[in-house]
């Protein structure tokens, strides 16, 4: 091989390696710039942190926020995620698996769900979705209900709040008339 041929071979080899580095860096850089390092499932929020209500208007919207607040409150009390608790409450079998996994008994679960319902009532009151005159007796009531009923209140918050409205609404009107 003559010296000039040797140089040509060396140059081609050098160019090939340099081009490989450049192309690889461009590809990886482009993918990172397009969000490649953050293409992951979204992080779930700590249930103990407050989750602001987004000005609900209809009963359905209030029930929606109420459910989320109740689940947040109960999950915070149990030290689990709101999402794990939601799936646990879906079926009796899921609930049993959840209790076994986290070493929770019925009493502790009931206590947590009641605490969650209290937080939901607090949040609803703070957002102006529930009158203080209704919130106070409601808070007292949910702290005495059995586990199955507490779960039902979370699962069907709309009926729960609808019933509350139909039962306590007239009472509130009466109270508002007599109170200064």
């Amino acid at each position: 091989m003559s010296p000039s041929q040797g140089d040509l071979t060396r140059n081609r080899g050098f160019l090939l390696v340099a081009a490989s580095i450049v192309v690889s860096l461009i590809l990886v850089g482009a993918y990172l710039a397009a969000g490649g390092s953050s293409y992951t499932p979204e992080k779930i929020q700590d249930p103990c942190k407050p989750r602001p209500w987004s000005n609900p208007q209809s009963l359905s919207e209030i029930a929606n926020q109420f459910t989320v607040s109740a689940l947040d409150g109960a999950a915070c009390k149990l030290g689990v995620s709101r999402e794990a608790l939601t799936r646990a409450l879906a079926t009796p079998e899921a609930r049993e698996r959840f209790k076994k996994k986290y070493g929770i008994d019925d009493a502790k679960l009931a206590q947590a769900i009641r605490a969650g319902l209290v937080r939901a009532i607090d949040d609803a009151e703070e957002a102006g979705a529930l009158s203080p005159l209704i919130a106070a007796p409601l808070r007292e009531t949910v702290q005495r209900i059995p586990l199955s009923q507490a779960i039902e209140f979370i699962n069907d918050a709309e009926s729960f709040l609808g019933n509350v409205n139909s039962f306590l609404g007239p009472a509130q009107n009466l109270l508002e008339e007599f109170l200064p």
Binding site: T9, R10, R12, G13, F14, L16, V17, A19, S20, I21, V23, S24, L25, L27, V28, Y31, L32, A34, G35, G36, S37, Y39, T40, P41, E42, K43, I44, Q45, S60, E61, A63, N64, T67, V68, L71, S81, R82, E83, A84, T86, R87, L89, A90, T91, A94, N155, D156, A157, E158
Partner: protein
């Protein structure tokens, strides 16, 4: 020559041909991801262990006889693989297939120089046939799995291997009649340590690229085997381009280095996919394809260059390549199975959060959360298909639109989880490719 190239191609394709069939084997034989990995690992492990002894035997009994018997064993074991009804039977048959394959491939390298006229040309043809087989394997396997069944991959190998064996039988008969073993028994030189070490590392990275990408496409993004086969065809097509590029640079060391860098760059690209979209897998695959063509041929030529006997040193390269595949699979499988589980958990939590935070009627969304929860139980250990959880869709058009949007958002979370689950493994595979640069740098002596 065609029969010998076919023999090498069909045996080395077997190293990767089942990659796209693994999800079907996984489901049909009711095994785990780690279990099904052994369908690949067993073949490559036995090839790695048997290649050099098989080359020695081929030189003792005659390469013609070794190749013919090897192909017959390969075909018989392929039939057993196709008829296997349990994972253990399949793995045992794969081991026997690898024994036959090792004999056939190494003996072919001993027979080729007499057929094509020179050792240099024989090496090039042998390396090209092996690279073509390995690169085309996954696509062929995917097409057969979808159009027929995973068993057909092995059953089809039977006539192909026998067809390759028929012309070689003439050489075997000649050896038996004359008692002449065509190769002189020269003293075996030391194998090229650095080239073989680099070959092992690069093979680990390439195996990971194929295996992980196929799993991502089929199990993560729920593509059918034939769709996945079409997608991964980008790699062998790019390898053809890489082969042409290799012809422009005669020095093996820069070719090997450039190839290793491109393989690593492509793998890093796959690790940082910004979206679960097929199109985005193509540029990284092109890099891996060009890279594998450059690096495999350069390192094989370096390992064989000026060394004799060819069959033994060819055996060492086969051994290094398949050992690399085994190391890659055994190193990365536990990592990505753990990651899949973790990401699945994160994706489900994120998906449940999406459901809870949606404006859908509370009763409806808690019902959806329940159904999604049931799907998770049914598909434990896999990336779940959540479509059925959303059926039947509500009658109300407004609610229907909300539920459909919710389904899309939940699917997005699952796609994110499935894609991210492979990131760590792709990064580690890319690192293996980069580490190969050290032995490549140390293989100063390019003996062509």
């Amino acid at each position: 020559m065609a029969a010998l190239a076919l023999a090498v191609g069909v045996v080395l394709a077997d190293s990767s041909i089942v990659v796209l069939a693994l999800p079907d084997i996984y489901r049909e034989l009711n095994t785990s991801v780690s279990g099904v990995t052994w369908v690949l690992v067993s073949f490559n492990l036995v090839m790695a262990l048997a290649a050099v002894p098989a080359a020695l035997i081929a030189r003792r009994v005659g390469p013609g006889r070794a190749a013919a018997v090897g192909l017959a064993v390969f075909a018989g074991a392929g039939l057993a693989c196709g008829l296997a009804d349990s994972l253990s039977t399949l793995i045992v048959a794969r081991c026997i297939q690898a024994l036959g394959g090792a004999a056939a491939v190494t003996a072919a390298l001993e027979l080729l120089p007499a057929t094509v006229g020179s050792e240099q040309r024989a090496t090039t043809i042998w390396a090209a046939a092996g690279a073509t087989g390995a690169a085309l394997g996954p696509a062929l396997g995917g097409i057969l799995t979808e159009l027929v069944s995973w068993q057909s991959i092995f059953l089809l190998q039977v006539p192909v291997a026998l067809a390759a064996a028929v012309p070689i039988l003439a050489v075997a008969k000649h050896e038996a009649a004359t008692g002449i073993v065509s190769t002189e028994l020269r003293r075996t030189g030391r194998p090229h340590i650095w080239a073989n070490l680099a070959l092992a590392m690069v093979s680990a990275a390439i195996a990971a690229a194929l295996f992980l990408l196929v799993l991502l496409l089929i199990e993560g993004w729920r593509l059918s085997p034939i769709e996945a086969a079409l997608v991964v065809t980008a790699m062998p097509l790019a390898a053809v381009l890489g082969g042409r590029l290799a012809a422009l640079v005669s020095d093996a060391r820069p070719r090997a280095a450039a190839g290793a860098i491109l393989v690593s760059g492509g793998l890093a690209g796959l690790a940082f996919l910004p979206k679960a979209t097929i199109a985005l897998t193509i540029p990284p695959q092109i890099l891996v394809g060009i890279g594998l063509a450059l690096v495999l041929s350069a390192l094989t030529e370096t390992a064989l260059g000026g060394r004799a006997p060819q069959a033994i040193h060819g055996g060492w390269t086969i051994s290094a390549r398949h050992a690399g595949v085994v190391i890659g699979l055994l190193l990365l499988t536990p990592i990505f199975t753990h990651e899949i589980d973790q990401q699945r958990h994160d994706a489900i939590n994120a998906g449940t959060a999406v459901i809870l935070d949606s404006p859908v009627n509370p009763l409806l969304k808690l019902g959806l959360a329940e159904k999604v929860s049931e799907r998770l139980e049914e598909e434990k250990g896999k990336v779940p298909t959540i479509g059925p959880a959303f059926e039947p869709l509500p009658d109300d058009p407004g609610e229907r639109a909300e539920v459909k949007q919710l389904q899309g958002e939940l699917q997005d979370q699952l796609d994110r989880g499935a894609t991210h689950a492979f990131s760590t493994s792709f990064i580690l595979a890319a690192l293996l490719g980069l580490i190969a640069l050290f032995p490549i740098a140390l293989s100063k002596e390019v003996e062509l």
